[in-house]
Point group: none
Chain length 128, copies 4
Amino acid sequence: MFELDLRSRLPIYEQLIEKLKELIITEVLKPDEQLPSVRVLAQQLTINPNTIQKAYRELERQGFIYTVKGKGNFVAPIIGSIHQEKLKKLKDELIKILSEAIYLGMNKEELVELITHVDHNIGGGKEK
Amino acid sequence: MFELDLRSRLPIYEQLIEKLKELIITEVLKPDEQLPSVRVLAQQLTINPNTIQKAYRELERQGFIYTVKGKGNFVAPIIGSIHQEKLKKLKDELIKILSEAIYLGMNKEELVELITHVDHNIGGGKEK
Amino acid sequence: MFELDLRSRLPIYEQLIEKLKELIITEVLKPDEQLPSVRVLAQQLTINPNTIQKAYRELERQGFIYTVKGKGNFVAPIIGSIHQEKLKKLKDELIKILSEAIYLGMNKEELVELITHVDHNIGGGKEK
Amino acid sequence: MFELDLRSRLPIYEQLIEKLKELIITEVLKPDEQLPSVRVLAQQLTINPNTIQKAYRELERQGFIYTVKGKGNFVAPIIGSIHQEKLKKLKDELIKILSEAIYLGMNKEELVELITHVDHNIGGGKEK
DNA sequence: GTGGTCTAGACCACC
DNA sequence: GTGGTCTAGACCACG
């Protein structure tokens, strides 16, 4: 389903949250679809079930999923603001890196070209 | 000079790195200008000198400042030849983030506008 | 495990780095093997945990070990693709030292013999 | 005459010692030749005269130069053992780097080829 | 004065 | 248990 980086400085449960958020936002996981059970996912990823739990609880708290006792966890209907929040973060990160690149001598034209290139490649293959 | 958020989950030394990078990139701190000494800055920010040290060392490793023992820390001038390798890494990172941004719905026009904005703030100089 | 010279002008943490590198290179410590924890090693060597930390972080930066938070530090397996850049730097360094050695009178035969010797000690395995 | 790296982690006076040793060993500075005066050299290198003094004293202590009061500092007649000592250090350094290179996958043949290449280039242009 | 290293001891998040 | 961060205070070498 996806990969985790055990060596990363980000805690595993946060990586999980990010990955799941992405799958939900991009609607790979559709609204009201059931998520894999804690145990199953833990086994697949060979990590501790507690870690999955923690991620699921946090996702529930943030409104991305909802839990039905005795049934499992399900994707919550999407809320537009989610996009917004995620995009805001990406923008901030972009600004930082762009600043550094320009400082080191890259010019606007090169950057625009880079964007065009990336845009074209993504447009070609919609499926991630 | 600037403020730190001691409560933040980002370590203090990383906040320092970010802030100082920004001052260097926007050329508020000019090449070869001396940075405040470890002790002085520590006193100003009321944090431990070791924490400043950690930030300064990392900035040196990243090529933003250089250290002269017994003298102090100084803003590194940008030398094209040295930074080509770094630019390559930045480009890779940019591509990754750009891809994600486009995938989540940002369009080329918005990105170009963002670049223009950042470019103006750095190229223009003081405006921040 | 090994000894440190607290009086040496080389900082303790650098001695540590050298020793650990050697153990890794000679494969006394095998890939993915766990290193002693920061605290345990500190106690064994009767030095401060922070000093061990410093050494471990540098070894991680150099790609010799990797860290899993909450788990420990482990010997990094060698992955060709990642290390090509590092090999290039090593080569440059080698050329510099070789030039100096030849300039000061060492001849090609002596150098080849040296290589053979080193190659045998590492390739052969345990012999040190 | 030569350059110093103020940013280096090696103290300036040690860099001076190394450079002068090299000039003496390679007989660019001939036995009994007069060295530049402390003041002149300090001015040329734009560093503190005390630093030059320190280097000259250490070189005298090590037997590389001798001082005649009121006259100046002079190159001491060479002693063979100097070469030996220097070569020993180089060899140690070589062993370390070779070990690392081999660990990262370079094989003996590549290294021998590298030596041949360096050897050939040096042989062609004797003057450094 | 400057940075570099080190200790002792503390608190945190993660697993 | 693990590593990561931080403080307070010390000593050193360097210029």
